[in-house]
Amino acid sequence: MALTESRPLALPSGEPTEVEFHPIGVFERPKSKRGWRSWLTTVDHKKIGIMYGAAALFFLLIAGSEALLIRAQLWSPRGTLLSADAYNQVYTMHGTTAVFLVVMPLGAAFANYLMPLQIGARDVAFPRINAFSFWCFLVGGIFLNTSWFLGGGADGGWFMYAPNNGVLYSPSHGIDFWNLGLIMTGIGSLTGAINLIVTVLNMRAPGMTLMKMPVFTWMTLVTQFLLLFAIPVLTTAQFLLLFDRLFDANFFNVAQGANPLLWQHLFWIFGHPEVYLMILPAFGLVSEMLPVFSRKPIFGYPFIVFSGVAIGFMGWGVWAHHMFVSGIGPISVTTFSLTTMFIAVPTGVKILNWTATMWGGKLRFTSPMLFSIGLILMFTLGGLSGVSHSIAPADTQQTDTYYIVAHFHYVLFGGAFFGFMGALYFYWPKVFGYMLDERIGKANFWLLLAGFNLTFAPMHVLGLQGMSRRVYTYDAGFGFEIWNKVATIGAFTIATSVLLFIVNIFLSRKRAKDLPPPGADPWDARTIEWMVPSPTPEWNFDPIPTIERVDDFWYRKYGEDENGNLVRVAETDEVVQHSDGKGVHLPSPSYWPLVTALGLPIIGYGLLYTWWLCLIGGLVVVAGLYGWAMEPPDDPDAAHGDEHGPDDETLEGAELPTREPAAVAAAVEEQEAETVG
């Protein structure tokens, strides 16, 4: 049988099939891009970024309240605000919420909003999967926090060491909520990571080679690779624990010869890269802000990129430095002590680069700049106490005391959070079309800086004096009282400054009605996301810019004269885009990512309470996926006779039949019957 000629069973292929699509009822795609419903169905990376940010700020209030409860409890010796049990839950949920529901989603917010803009892409590679990632994160976070109303939160510490995480020591459902909630956010992180990596690698504007990408995009790429490889390890550990708790497996059952160190290894193989994936986005953001407010390019662009990549790689080789006192043996301790000291090198390179960027620059001390400088200072302090932890004998004394609480708050609060705060001030006009008030912003910064140092600097002292962390109270007479009082005052100062930020949002918004709009480029910035109008139009760029060098937007505005001095070659208004986006077609919104994600917590409750809920949740997920796959196609090409794709160019000379819009639509429908993403 000649395969290629007679194909009796073969269906028509190659040439478009004339299949009419009659969407019915729920299968119709939602079209509205305004109103509250549009937020539930959006697939626009910018809206999803905003939702990540809003959710993170909401969880920040929860994590912050938990922190204030901790500090209020420790105000005086033998405090009675919280019972020992309640204290365990509060500090566990504070850590979990801060790490998984505040800092990580803040990174995701900026990655989602900015990264496609910085590389000149219309959207991420899989817009619907992007929405799904967000909803997974949100339902996971809410699921986790519903444990407060259903018998109490998790109480094993955010690191959840075995065997304290077993049913024997923690009989309530708190830890099950922790497991299931974080598996849900993990699904979101993993799909998000795949999506963003594909976007960076595949969808850059013409001319934008990897070494011309903005630093933030680079750090996003490294971060997402860390997520890609770290999340499955945590998920493995959580499944093992879940099976132990729900189905009586023996992974952490010491009576059956289980080894509790297995949990520590799995957890920290995830947990240490996690630390870097929290801090790297902030490093990227600072690398965007400092050059703008120093009016100099970033010093040593390749160094700052490669040190980020090096941190990403080396982050995998240091996990056991969390385990120096767990009895892993002298050879392991020595090895991990050395690797931990080495990882200070690329971090130091970054600090040097930022300092050199500011050196001799025309500095403008705006709020974003202040927060950036705050990050450099606070992170350096945290890095120094980090080096003292890499020295194993010192660590043996410091670990499990407030010294280490001080260390990681300097790194993650003073590092990551300061960076995100600065970036919020920096990118606010781009996202919402109005500037945040600078005076309140500066007050916000100084209050945060003061509160932060009041809270965490004394903890170094407390730790060296020997005050244990994770213990709900302390006795009088050890010299702990005064520093605990200072720290508590500091914590409430931080809370005031966060409230000031929220006030700033609403006040500035009200005031902005009387002010001229900030325009596309309020800071005289360098990277191409500032080329589009503020707030960013839905289509991002029209046309997509071609990139010639790092900081392409800057060099469209500025050139050099014969003496190498900076001269303006074009007014900002001439180089920013003024487009109405006609002819740009974007994917339509969709219900299905939300529906699919909503099935997950139903399965979660089913596993904990009653099996038939699992069945319902499973059906919701399957229905969601089915709806997703069967959704009427929606292709940007369908509506406009697009004639500038590479395919059309090759066909140009040939005699082409006029393409009827209907035929084009049908062809596209057939081609893209299942739009991906």
Partner: protein
Amino acid sequence: MAETVTHHRELLAERDAHAPVAHPDHATNTGISNTKLAMWLFLASECLLFGGLITTYLLYKHPLPGSGPGPHDVFDIPFTSASSFVLLMSSLTMVLAVSAIERGDHHRLRVWLVGTALLGATFIAGQVYEFTVFYNEGLGYTTSRFSSAFYTLTGFHGVHVTVGIIMLVSLVLLSLRGRLPEHRSETVEIVGLYWHFVDVVWILIFAVVYLIP
């Protein structure tokens, strides 16, 4: 100076207008399509998932004395070798399916896809049979640290094979409805990537769990 500046600006505008990226899917920076790259990344992360499970198994492969049967009390290596062979053969039929659609032979495509799914299903049936035998010999999920680790590792792999079978059946249905033309042969290829990955992982698991004493 002013002239060159204006000229420069015009060049920039022209350059942007002719950027061939109005539809990013038509040409990607790497030359690999978005979906294929996504599958490669997903499989990379799966390595870490199975890495964690295999490590756990290696740590727990010997039960405490007196806590139920150990690995070589229950394993029937000839039987599992046969079902492993069946699974490995399914990689061959998968390759033939991909090759069929690239030649435009939709009939053969469906034959080989169904064949692959059947081979996968045979493997799963073998696993179910094996688990039943082990259970009857006194190796329950909660019996010992070895039993928990064994069932979890092989069970996770079994779930992956099952998901693969569902994807293969979906491909057959798509093809029957005429929604899988040659120019979308990559969809088959991507499912193939997943399928080969699951097979390769099984080679590792088979070696580590059954063959290494």
